[in-house]
């Protein structure tokens, strides 16, 4: 495999995984409850009961459910008699017009032909996952995910220990993901801070946390949390890496925090939140990217991360129609490397990379369901990449844009959803033409 191919592959794996897990039917199996007990509008978003279930560490008792528990005598156990599995299949068709790569160049072959989504891209069954999830024991739950990416098996997962503290849960989550970002351990609102929980499939053109690369990407961390009826708070530390073989970070870790309050407003529920990340982690370049081994001398690299923002979620019924409004404002998401050259050739033609960049982004997403199975949605996104992109000047302002998106979700079954979305993008850079993107998706969870 050529070195450039390795670089290209690893950058894509680390940075631009475009999709994420949706509903996990293993939970339905564990509890005996239908999918929409935890999900609102469709299988991708959580309602308040779904948040409670997550806060419990996915360990809500199955004593009255469909599965019995095996209890311990001298030592606690409370293990479900069934290990609950589920599969998520996703098939996508993506057709864009004059869409660009991370350097602002239209997606073309070296002969000038349309390629990739500009030609029309069939992604069957992209980012499909196999999940083992649910209660592990009393007060302990887990999600383990296996996916295939370019012929490689990728494991990710989290383990949560949670305790009922009155009308609340308190707990600790340990997690490692190549895809879902620093808030993966415990984040349950649909504002895109945790990649799977968002309103649009086309996350990069509709959600600020996703467009700014804040709520996605590799992360390994630990966090503690408190989740009450009206308050959610968490603090933790993470490294922006997913490497099951080990990450030699020594004592360095990047702290992060997140706070959200819930305010009932009649039939609606308002959630206002804030989040922040600031710190650095130092580890081998081959820890950050194992594919570098053998191609580049092993050396320490420091990653500095600083980010903060606010999000809002308004959920409930308007004119008896289920409605969900989400807002995310990423005031700053800065990532820099002490020496980017230690991570290899920076001139590879990748579609996106957050290193050496400071981004701000703002988004508003709204979905209304005229019928329980059909949702109509609209989103607006503004993104501004302030660079500096010292080694790659052609990336300067390439991601700056306004994007307006429309879509609909149709739940053929609770676990089978058809999604159609259309985005119109106005880049800020004068040399980049406006472009559009149409997306059709089938998501099947079973």
């Amino acid at each position: 495999m050529k070195k450039t191919s390795i670089w290209f592959s690893c950058f894509l794996i680390m940075l631009t995984f475009p999709d994420a897990a949706q509903a996990v039917p293993g939970f339905a199996r564990q509890t005996g409850l239908e999918c929409f007990m935890c999900h609102t509008q469709n299988q991708t978003k959580l309602n308040s009961f779904g948040r409670d279930f997550a806060h419990s560490g996915y360990a809500m008792s199955t004593e009255d459910g469909s599965q019995s528990l095996i209890d311990g005598k001298e030592l606690g156990l409370s293990l479900p008699t069934v290990l609950n599995l589920s599969v998520m299949l996703k098939a996508r068709w993506d057709k864009s017009n004059d869409a660009i790569n991370g350097k602002g160049r239209v997606l073309e072959s070296k002969d000038g032909d349309d390629i990739d989504s500009n030609r029309g891209l069939y992604e069957v069954y992209k980012t499909s996952t196999i999940n083992i999830a649910g209660r592990v024991s009393e007060n302990v739950g887990s999600i383990l995910e296996l996916r295939e990416k370019e012929g490689k098996a990728i494991f990710g997962g989290k383990v949560i220990t949670a305790f009922d503290t009155g009308n609340s849960y308190s707990g600790l989550a340990i997690y490692s993901t190549n895809n879902y970002g620093p808030f993966t351990g415990m984040e349950t609102y649909n504002t895109g801070l945790y990649k799977p929980l968002r309103q649009f499939e086309n996350h990069k053109l509709t959600n600020a946390a996703q467009a700014s690369d804040l709520g996605s990407g590799a992360a390994t961390g630990v966090q503690v949390y408190y989740a009450g009826e009206y308050l959610f708070a968490t603090v933790g530390g993470y490294v922006p890496v997913h490497n099951s073989d080990g990450i030699d970070i020594g004592s360095t870790i990047i702290p992060f925090t997140r706070l959200a309050v819930e305010i009932p407003l009649g039939d609606m529920n308002l959630v206002i939140g804030g989040y922040g990340i600031k710190g650095h982690a130092r580890a081998s370049n081959t820890s950050f990217d194992p594919d570098l081994s053998g191609y580049i001398p092993r050396a320490l690299v420091t990653v500095y991360k600083e980010a903060y923002g606010m999000d809002l979620q308004l959920e409930g019924s308007v004119l008896d129609l289920s409605t969900l409004l989400t807002v995310n404002a990423v005031f700053k998401n800065k990532t820099s490397l002490s020496n980017p050259l230690l991570m290899g050739d920076p001139t590879i033609d990748v579609y996106g990379e957050p290193e050496d960049a400071q981004t701000e982004a703002y988004s508003v997403d709204l979905e209304v369901n005229p019928w329980p199975s059909l949702g109509l949605k609209v989103a607006y996104l503004y993104a501004n990449d302030k660079g500096p992109h010292i080694l790659e000047p052609d990336k300067i302002d390439a991601k700056d844009k306004h994007a307006l998106s429309f879509g609909l979700d149709y739940s053929f079954r609770q676990n089978i959803m058809f999604t159609v979305e259309y985005s119109m993008v106005t880049p800020s850079r004068l040399d980049i033409a406006n472009y559009t993107d149409a997306l059709g998706v089938i998501t099947i969870s079973f």
């Binding site: 290209f8 592959s9 894509l12 039917p25 339905a28 199996r29 005996g32 409850l33 239908e34 999918c35 929409f36 469909s66 609950n84 599995l85 589920s86 599969v87 299949l89 098939a91 993506d94 790569n101 997606l107 073309e108 072959s109 070296k110 002969d111 349309d114 390629i115 990739d116 989504s117 500009n118 030609r119 029309g120 891209l121 069939y122 992604e123 069957v124 069954y125 992209k126 980012t127 499909s128 196999i130 296996l146 295939e148 990416k149 370019e150 012929g151 490689k152 098996a153 033609d349 329980p372 199975s373 739940s411 053929f412 079954r413 609770q414 676990n415 089978i416 089938i442 099947i444 079973f446």
Partner: protein, 438 residues
């Protein structure tokens, strides 16, 4: 016959080792339906009988409503019908393969690979998840090892929407497979058109659809179908590649079709079918070869044309169950423009044809004796030194199948290959295999 022995060896090696995803019998379906394996299978796994075809046509959604362990989770406002258990199957296979083909890839006198005798434990093994997904929807996901050096695993899958129509089922299948071929979205006869459904383990030495390549290889497609106890028809579009990262084929796709008519005659079922495909797909070389697309990509146009006939007769002779399958591939061509940009074996230029007849008789229920004859002809002058199907041969096979249990089988197969090139001596292939599905 105008090629080298090297080409022959390369072809043989590829054909032998590229079948890791082929599904065997899937006990997950047994768990879902509460029925034993042989309710769906004929003689041995994975060959399907009439009820097995019926189950597949339903999109694997037929369910045991009285199951105590696998109830359905129903929806309220939006329908669901999700089984309370995700049924998982494992297929574990061990093989010993030896061939007498004379080739020296090491450029020494050492005999290597299957010439030396190769033990293949866990190759072609895998995990399978699926069955009923929801009301009128079924699916199957396979996770298997990948025999290539670059990849660890291969993930394939299909999702089927099926509704009762007339006397059978009508529906759609959206599929993506690494090895099972164009027709694998919905094909249930045992003539080798869908790679797992054949009579011999040594697929490319016994079955025309497998030897020519029309019934195997990476495929991503969508097809509509109708099938009942007698009639089956399907048409769809396919891209001859699997790439979960995406294939930028735009609006180009290769149409295909298949019809079959099955006539029950007393205790017998006799099926006559036909199939065909012709069309062009154009996509970047990187996506067709299974990689990610970048600005160095070049568009490649793949033209495929193939058609043929197949026949299946199953029923008892003197109280012994038999199955006869015939496949005649009248034409199978592949061309790529520009040439020599792609590495995928099934996207190499090809022009071949073949015919095969396979027969199995079970003197006792658990023991089958099988015979096969395959004629393969290549019509294309080779220009490439890799992945070349460039020789003519006749292959005569004898095999035995023993079911220790319904889900534990042993196969012994011997194939004598008579080559017509004059370049290569006749040779044999020996297969010993054990398969356990649970």
């Amino acid at each position: 016959m105008k090629t080298s022995i090297k080409n022959l060896f390369l072809l043989s090696a590829i054909l032998l080792f590229m079948l890791p995803e082929s599904a065997y019998a899937l006990p997950g379906f047994t768990r879902q339906t509460g029925k034993d394996c042989m309710t769906c299978h004929a003689q041995n796994m994975p060959k399907l009988n009439a009820y097995g075809r019926h189950f597949a046509l339903s999109g694997y959604t037929i369910y045991d409503p009285d199951s105590e362990t696998q109830s359905l989770i129903e929806g309220t406002e939006v329908a669901l019908g999700l089984p309370a258990v995700l049924n998982v199957s494992a297929v574990v296979r061990a093989r010993y393969v030896k061939s007498s083909r004379r080739e020296d890839l090491t450029l020494t006198d050492d005999v290597v690979g299957i010439e030396r005798g190769e033990l293949q434990v866990l190759q072609a093994s895998g995990l399978y998840f699926g069955g009923r997904v929801a009301d009128n929807v079924g699916g199957l996901v396979s996770l298997t090892d990948d025999t290539s050096d670059d990849n660890d695993i291969a993930m394939g899958g299909k999702a089927i929407v099926a509704y009762p129509v007339l006397n059978g089922f009508g529906g759609f299948s959206l599929y993506s497979t690494q090895v099972n071929g164009t027709f694998s979205g919905m094909e249930n006869y045992n003539t080798g058109l869908n790679s797992p459904l054949r009579q011999f383990e040594n697929a490319t030495g016994t079955n025309a659809a497998q030897a020519t390549g029309i019934g195997r290889g990476p495929s991503t497609g969508l097809q509509a179908y109708y099938g009942d106890d007698r009639f089956f028809a399907t048409f769809g579009g396919v891209i001859p590649s699997q790439n979960n990262e995406g294939i930028d084929a735009g609006s180009s796709i290769i149409p295909f079709w298949r019809v079959a008519y099955n006539q029950p005659i007393s205790e017998w079922n006799v099926m006559l079918g036909a199939y065909g495909m012709a069309g062009t797909v154009k996509a970047s070389d990187q996506s067709l070869d299974g990689g990610t697309i970048d600005s160095k990509a070049i568009l490649v146009e793949i033209y495929k044309e193939g058609y043929g006939f197949d026949f299946q007769a199953s029923g008892p002779i003197a109280g012994m169950m038999t199955m006869t399958t015939i496949n005649v591939v009248v034409k199978n061509t592949v061309s790529a423009t520009p040439e020599n940009l792609l590495l995928s074996p099934n996207l190499q230029r090809t022009d071949n044809e073949g015919g095969s007849i396979e027969f199995q008789i079970n003197p006792v229920e658990s023991f089958g004796v099988k015979l096969a004859y395959l004629n393969y002809n290549n019509n294309y002058d080779v220009v490439r030194q890799d992945y070349v199907e460039a020789y003519d041969f006749d292959a005569y096979s004898l095999g035995f199948n023993y079911l220790a249990r319904q889900n534990v089988s042993f196969d012994i197969e011997y194939t004598h290959n008579h080559t017509k090139s004059g370049v290569l001596d006749d040779f044999y292939d020996l297969y010993l295999s054990a398969t356990v599905a649970f």
